[in-house]
């Protein structure tokens, strides 16, 4: 009955009959993915950037910057709902090329997809580099930078090698571990707040406020990852709501952090702090608990946030490249991108260059996530009027 000597893989040969659902990411996991990624992006230097132009009203610009991000994610989620089970690769080819000339769609979408992948790669490496700078400055002074970079990227690679299901689960697991300590610490740090640092409420004119709005909306980048992840979610309204909630939670947290930072330091001192959130943690005393300088523990929690951000980006990049080049398993791409990421992370010479690069990348990605989904969405509306819906129920991601 059984072949002799092949006992090592009984479980692979006789597996449980799979359910016929390709939607492996539940709505709650979508919220978790978005929140973990966005918290990881912004928490490093957001308060400083926010208060740079808007002064004391920095927290308001953070809160309002949320709406731009909501607009972006609204576009992306309606695209995802229309093209059920497909990632941006397949539906951008469809929309840009049309039924008559599919090759045109492939050619037209290729540079955009490659630039998307490139920006995400650069994002991954820059965040990793920035975080390693923080670690080295605050906690591990004597460790070589490359060791930290290597270990962070290696762990991210381990996660990116798995399927979307596992990534969603890990995000879901790490979500409370990230949100609760960050929230707690922010709330506790309010005990050092001097509330008159927040006055006047509207110190700058509309132009400066608007620039600040644009600058802070850069920190909501990361949700365009949903272009890839929406292939795995169900096209139900709960998933749409989950995406908006997924933007709302980090928005709230970022607002609170900025508020606390402006209140504890004033905006002038804030502009001169390189890592304002870290300083917030340093200045916090937790009375009664047995630990004192808790920034090391705070950084450890932060690792989880950064880690989810970079591994989500890593996975999304690998998925896009897998589909563009029709490679069967994305694991090979993940492996191949690793030395590239390591090299990119080593490129900036010092931390100011890192900030500079992050800024440029931020502007580029705003361009991308405002422009590209908008164009696609408009095209989809046009084509919707031409024909009657465009539903493909293939295996997702093909």
């Amino acid at each position: 009955m059984a072949e002799p000597g092949s006992q090592s893989n009984i479980a692979q040969r006789v597996n449980v009959a799979k359910e016929e659902t390709p939607y492996v990411i539940a709505p709650r996991q979508v919220t978790a993915i978005l929140s973990c990624t966005l918290i990881g992006m912004g928490v490093l230097t957001l308060p400083r950037i926010a208060s740079h132009w808007a002064h004391e009203a920095g927290w308001m610009s953070v809160l309002l910057g949320m709406f731009m991000a909501m607009f972006g994610i609204g576009l992306i989620s309606s695209l995802g709902q229309r093209f059920v089970g497909q990632t941006v690769v397949s539906y951008s080819r469809q929309l840009l090329g049309g039924k008559t000339r599919p090759r045109l769609g492939v050619v037209l979408s290729f540079p955009i997809l490659i630039s998307l992948a490139g920006i995400w790669l650069a994002d991954t490496s820059m965040i990793t580099r920035a975080f390693s700078e923080v670690i080295m400055a605050a906690v591990l002074e004597n460790t070589p930078m490359n060791v930290i970079l290597f270990l962070m990227l290696a762990t991210a690679m381990y996660l990116a090698m798995h399927e979307a299901e596992v990534i969603a689960r890990v995000n879901e697991l790490l979500f409370p571990l990230i949100v609760i300590p960050v929230l707690l610490l922010t709330l506790i740090s309010f005990q050092n707040a001097r509330w008159n640092n927040l006055l006047p409420l509207f110190p700058v004119d509309w132009r400066a406020f608007f620039i600040s709005l644009l600058a802070t909306s850069v920190f909501y980048k990361g949700f365009e990852m949903m272009l890839v992840f929406s292939a795995f979610t169900q096209p139900i309204s709960a998933a749409r709501r989950a995406q908006f909630v997924g933007i709302g939670i980090p928005a709230l947290l970022n607002t609170l952090i900025t508020l606390a930072a402006i209140a504890v330091f004033s905006y002038e001192e804030l502009e001169r702090l390189m890592w304002p959130t870290l300083e917030l943690a340093t200045s916090t005393e937790i009375p009664g608990l047995i630990f004192e300088r808790v920034e090391a523990a705070y950084l450890a929690v932060w690792v989880a946030a950064i880690f989810t951000a970079i591994s989500n980006f890593y996975f999304a990049t690998a998925k896009i490249l897998q589909e563009t080049f029709r490679i069967r398993h994305h694991q090979w791409i993940v492996l191949g991108l690793f030395p590239l990421l390591l090299w990119l992370s080593n490129l900036p010479a010092h931390v100011y260059q890192v900030f500079h690069w992050i800024e440029i990348l931020g502007y580029l990605s705003v361009l991308l996530w405002l422009g590209f989904p908008l164009i696609l969405w408009l095209l989809a509306q046009i084509r919707l009027r031409e024909k009657n819906g465009n539903r493909r129920t293939d295996h997702p991601g093909q």
Binding site: A2, I135, Y158, L174
Partner: protein, 529 residues
């Protein structure tokens, strides 16, 4: 003329051929045994049985003369030690040799009288379970299971009677899983006793017991138990298929089965639960899981399994919900301690001494002043010593075992401290870690965590708290990628289902638990009306 090019033979093909030949030969042997049927002559049959068993000395052959048919010769065959001799003496031999049967009213329309064997079954033998067969495979198998075989000269069928009665352990309290409040009986090594213990608690006619034999040489009996109507049929099918695909010569313990049918045997975490307690098995049956009872071991398997099994104990449900929730938190904390405490010590002393409150830091540094090793080496040495001690105390007999454990830990700890090899706070930490791993109710999970704390210590020694966090993330990734028979391992924490969470981290009151856990996909999910 074109020369034909010969294709080179691949080595893998040669190996395959060899394997196929071996398999064919093995099959021939079993086929041969199956083909052999009883001949009509008693002496030939007895000789065949003797030959198959190789003239084993514990084979007993008792020639008798049947009371009702004195002209026919008959013989009783059994294996000494496997049978209950009183049954043979008092019921089989007595009813065959003493009591003449009433002549049956043969006013039936049959032209030929029914065969002797049928007559014996119907009215001659006062034994509760009988069967007949005419192929040697079945006869030998039942002989080796403790049945008695009756062979009659001239008949082509043999009779086998259930006379199983060997020495078995009494039902005792399981010593790996004791509880304060709850039943004290545990499974034993006999499969029938175990299935009976489950039936006693679950008098549901939907309870199904399905027998399979595993192991070419051991022919171990396995019973797959499930409740029809609750269990997810896909999981059941997968379990049965996987067990039937096992091709091994001996399945001595349920651990063999567990390792062969597990989804991922490279993982340190068990994806199939095992237990010695019938009440735990029944509780899991009611949730829609499948129980696998193996003959020869008191540990039954429960599939599928999820991570929350590690800190759940049946005791949580026998007490009130506040106590159950509280104890679960204690267990979670102790699991975290068992995994993290030595690593935290290493991280704090080597990388983040500023985090320790000043007074404690001074005391710690004073203790560490004489230690010649870095914190990593010190902690590793002590942990390895404790592991050796633990293993040694399992092997020591009787009352010496626990004593050596206590004495060893104290003396080794004390003398190491006074010799200046380790610092006193490390003794406390190691002690707390050991206690934490004992508080985990599931032994397999405790081992997994014990094993994982060594790489965690190395990670802490490399990067401090950051290293601990990264390794924790690696463990979380691994746990999230595990599946047990299609159920995600970290359910119901992730993917989270709020309705199942009420039994995961806390223990909600019984009247809230209206439905069975959805992660098991039960077909009938109403528990409380």
């Amino acid at each position: 003329m074109v020369r034909k090019v010969r294709h080179p033979v691949k080595i893998s093909d040669l190996k395959k051929k060899k394997k196929e030949e071996q398999a064919k030969q093995a099959e021939k042997k079993t086929e041969a045994l199956k083909e052999m049927k009883l001949s009509g002559k008693l002496a030939d049959n007895i000789d065949t049985i003797r030959q198959i068993l190789g003239d084993s000395d514990d084979l007993v052959i008792r020639n008798i003369i049947l009371a009702g048919n004195p002209e026919k010769k008959a013989a009783i065959v059994f294996i000494d030690g496997l049978v209950n001799a009183m049954l043979i003496d008092g019921y089989i031999l007595k009813s065959l040799m003493f009591h003449t049967r009433q002549p049956t009213d043969e006013k039936s329309d049959e032209s030929t009288p029914p065969p002797l064997i049928d007559q014996l079954i119907r009215s001659g033998l006062t034994i509760n379970e009988v069967g007949q067969a005419n192929d040697f495979q079945q006869i030998i198998r039942s002989l080796l299971s403790g049945d008695t075989i009756l062979l009659v000269d001239g008949e082509e069928m043999a009779l086998f009677m259930n006379t199983k009665g060997w020495e078995r352990r009494a039902v005792q309290e399981p010593n790996t899983e004791s509880v304060v409040r709850g039943p004290r009986d545990g499974f034993t090594e006999t499969m029938r006793v175990n299935t009976a213990l489950i039936r006693l608690r679950l008098k549901d006619p939907d309870l199904r017991v399905k027998n399979i034999t595993v192991g070419k040489r051991t022919n171990t009996d396995i019973a797959i138990i499930y409740i029809d109507g609750i269990v997810d049929p896909k999981v059941l099918e997968a379990v049965v298929n996987r067990i039937q695909s096992i091709d091994i010569d001996g399945a001595l313990e349920s651990g063999y089965l567990e390792q062969l049918i597990e989804d991922n045997h490279w993982s340190p975490f068990p994806q199939i639960q095992n237990t010695e307690r019938p009440d735990k098995a029944v509780a899991n049956l009611l949730e829609g899981k499948v129980v696998i009872v193996t003959d020869g071991t008191p540990f039954v398997l429960i599939a599928p399994a999820v991570f929350s099994q590690f800190y759940h104990s049946p005791e949580d449900y026998y007490e009130r919900f506040g106590i159950g929730t509280f104890i679960r938190f204690i267990r979670l904390i102790s699991m975290a301690m068992a995994l993290l405490l030595p690593s935290l010590y290493i991280a704090f002393t080597s990388f983040h001494p500023e985090m320790i409150p000043s007074k404690l830091a001074i005391a710690m540094m004073a203790g560490r002043a004489t230690v010649p090793f870095p914190a990593v080496v010190e902690a590793m040495l002590m942990e390895i010593a404790v592991e050796i001690l633990r293993e040694a105390s399992v092997r020591l007999p009787g009352p010496i075992g626990p004593t050596i454990g206590i004495v060893g830990a104290l003396i080794i700890g004390e003398s190491a401290v006074s010799a200046g090899i380790i610092s006193p706070i490390l003794v406390i930490i190691v002690g707390l870690t050991t206690l934490g791993s004992f508080a985990t109710p599931s032994y397999s999970a405790a081992i997994a965590l014990r094993m994982l704390r060594f790489p965690m210590m190395l990670a802490a020694g490399t990067l401090g708290l950051l290293g601990i966090m990264l390794f924790l993330i690696v463990i979380i990734i691994h746990l999230s990628s595990l599946k047990s028979f299609g159920v995600p391992y970290m359910a119901p924490i992730s993917p989270s289902r709020t309705s199942d969470l009420k039994d995961a981290l806390i223990r909600a009151p019984l009247f809230w638990m209206r439905s069975r856990p959805k992660i098991m996909k039960p077909r009938d999910d109403k528990r409380v009306g």
